[in-house]
Symmetry: C2
Subunit: 373 residues, 2 copies
């Protein structure tokens, strides 16, 4: 079934069919109705290849996810939730979201290159950025709208969005400091993914502001998984001078950590303070004692991606300059029972008002819509 068949069926020309389907004004109301009805009845939609070839654009936005690179391994709905937001916005702009999953065997750089060269998409979102990320260098020299989900040291000025690792680190360290903790470990991700470094360095800076030095031995890099968190626990417990608190860049780390600690009779909250990271609807809400963590509006983050991508594509279409945007996405602390005042704090922390909770927070919060730089 193609446009010719449909035209023949209706005894009109393909030009008229095309105009009717594309909502052009120069077609009679009656003809339009006949065409639309017939198209629905016969199950006709314009062939995408023909349309793309003619139009020079595909109407597709790609979202590239990389296998086994940090967040992709997590047992939760991180990206799926983001897709939700992206999808809902793109739909309003008549754009389709397609997800490209870059498997283990192929290099992300080659993968991006193929997507671009073959003209598969009108715009691309690349996630899981590394410190040096050649995908970004490549995309910058192409003329394709793209957004990086995650910061990188690569490339020149381009649009990106990233979680507020600095803010989380500052709040996490601040909390532990006020509770009297002075020896604090940082659990972060191994591998080259950029946020592992950003988080560790932000923790270092937060400690420094309080006159504390972050010993390199206290930065524990492990794979982002419960198993990784378990190993974090092993390494913590093996230290000659055990830290009194741990902050971690990911909740799955905290989960594995809890497990190892409990095995060793070390009770989170009582014997050691633990701070997690992002809260998702189905993951880590039910740790006991409840985990101090941060609320993250992932659907809204996806919406931001969608909105900005639509802008970029529209700007390119109309020949305008690309509106580059940078966005740091805020998170909001949800205090739990895993961070309570030290009983025998050497420095003696001040009393902090906290509302530990054992049930999941249900309130949905729209992230503030502060403009990107």
């Amino acid at each position: 079934m193609n446009i010719h068949d449909l035209a023949k069926h209706l005894n009109i020309s393909i030009g008229t069919v095309s105009r009717a389907l594309n909502g052009r004004s120069d077609v009679s109301a009656e003809t339009r109705k006949r065409v639309l009805d017939a198209a629905r009845k016969l199950g006709y939609s314009p062939n995408q290849s023909g349309r793309s070839l003619r139009r020079g654009s595909t109407g597709m936005v790609g979202f590239m996810v990389i296998a086994n690179r940090s967040r992709a391994v997590r047992g939760e709905a991180f990206f799926m939730t983001v897709f939700d937001g992206v999808q809902s916005v793109l739909a309003k702009h008549n754009l389709d979201l397609v997800i490209y999953y870059c498997g283990d065997e192929q290099s992300p750089e080659t993968y991006v290159q193929r997507i671009v060269e073959r003209g598969l998409v009108d715009g691309l979102i690349v996630s899981q950025t590394t410190r040096v990320d050649h995908r970004i260098d490549y995309l910058l020299q192409q003329n394709l709208p793209f957004i990086a989900f995650g910061r990188s040291q690569s490339g020149g000025d381009h649009s990106w969005i990233d979680l507020d690792f600095e803010g989380v680190a500052e709040e996490s360290i601040d909390l532990l400091y006020r509770l009297g903790h002075r020896r604090i470990a940082v659990a972060t991700t191994a591998g080259d993914v950029n946020y592992g470094f950003i988080y560790a360095e932000a923790c270092r800076a937060a400690l420094k502001r309080r006159g504390l030095e972050l010993d390199d031995d206290l930065i524990i890099r492990e794979a982002i998984s419960e198993a990784g968190g378990y190993r974090v626990g092993e390494r913590l417990l093996a230290m000659k001078q055990r830290p009194t608190g741990v902050v971690s860049v990911e909740n799955s780390l905290a989960i594995g950590l809890y497990s190892k600690l409990k095995e060793a009779g070390v009770e989170p909250g009582r014997d050691i303070a633990v701070v997690g990271f992002d809260e998702t609807p189905t993951f880590g809400l039910f740790l006991q004692p409840s985990l101090t963590r941060f609320r993250l509006a992932l659907v809204d983050l996806g919406r931001w991606l969608g909105e900005h991508m639509a802008e970029l594509i529209e700007a390119k279409r109309s020949g305008k300059a690309a509106p580059v945007a940078h966005k740091i996405w805020p998170l909001e602390m949800v205090p739990g029972a895993s961070t309570i005042p030290l009983l025998s704090a050497a420095g003696g922390g001040e009393t902090v008002a906290l509302r530990p909770e054992t049930k999941p927070a249900r309130r949905v919060r729209r992230a503030s819509e502060t403009a990107g730089s």
Copy 2:
């Protein structure tokens, strides 16, 4: 950059360029090398729309995931792992995997229809099947290779693969029965997704084989999430006659359940037996006491999907009949400390050899490659 530009650059015709790039034999070795080198250097790949239009096929296989339908909520580790397997196999057949994420606002039926009508893919995998699933009815009457990931009552004979819910139910019930449990609750998913019903019915059958009736009150349907599991716990504890054991169709249910039980001072393993479902690398491995669960080779399942899809596409290409396959994917029990013999069992269970473990099983097992029917 298109094929004309490249041909002009090399002072040869576009026909020769095309043949060289497509590995046809009727082109001299020297010319081929020149073409391939230039293509790489200039960053040229054939435009996908042009190629698809001419060839009548896209070389793409779609994998449709539905937002907020059961597994998708926690789904990433689940589906991403499957993608990995699919991807690796398709690559060998020069097919690309693209994931279509069907958001909340659009109907899965319309979504599938659009994908097919617009000719986006050469084959489609649809997941999260419902009991009545019009996508399957639709796909059957199209001439597009497709596989359902999940059984359905819809449609005629078509290829599908599904987890061995019956086997898991049988083994779970059998274990609890042998441990002396006689009042057993079944935690399953709410909503129309088919496997929730399959699992519950399989449990009912397994109980019946042992002379037990599954009271409808003991089938607890909740959303697949930790929060859902928490509510399962609430409902269990509210029962006048509390079950001594629970089996559940999903690990996240078990996690939330643990949480509620512990809150109430009911210790899993000691006071109530709990059986989970699939084990994933990053999810629920570290519950304490360790959860009895089932090992699932998801990457291999993905490989099966990829292999069979390649077969279907090849068959269609060569005009052969579609080789329909049905596959029940096996899982292997990993005993944990959440199922131990009842101290005060009324019926008194026999002693069962179990090897409770507290650490995650690391062994990677290739699922048996039994042929589909």
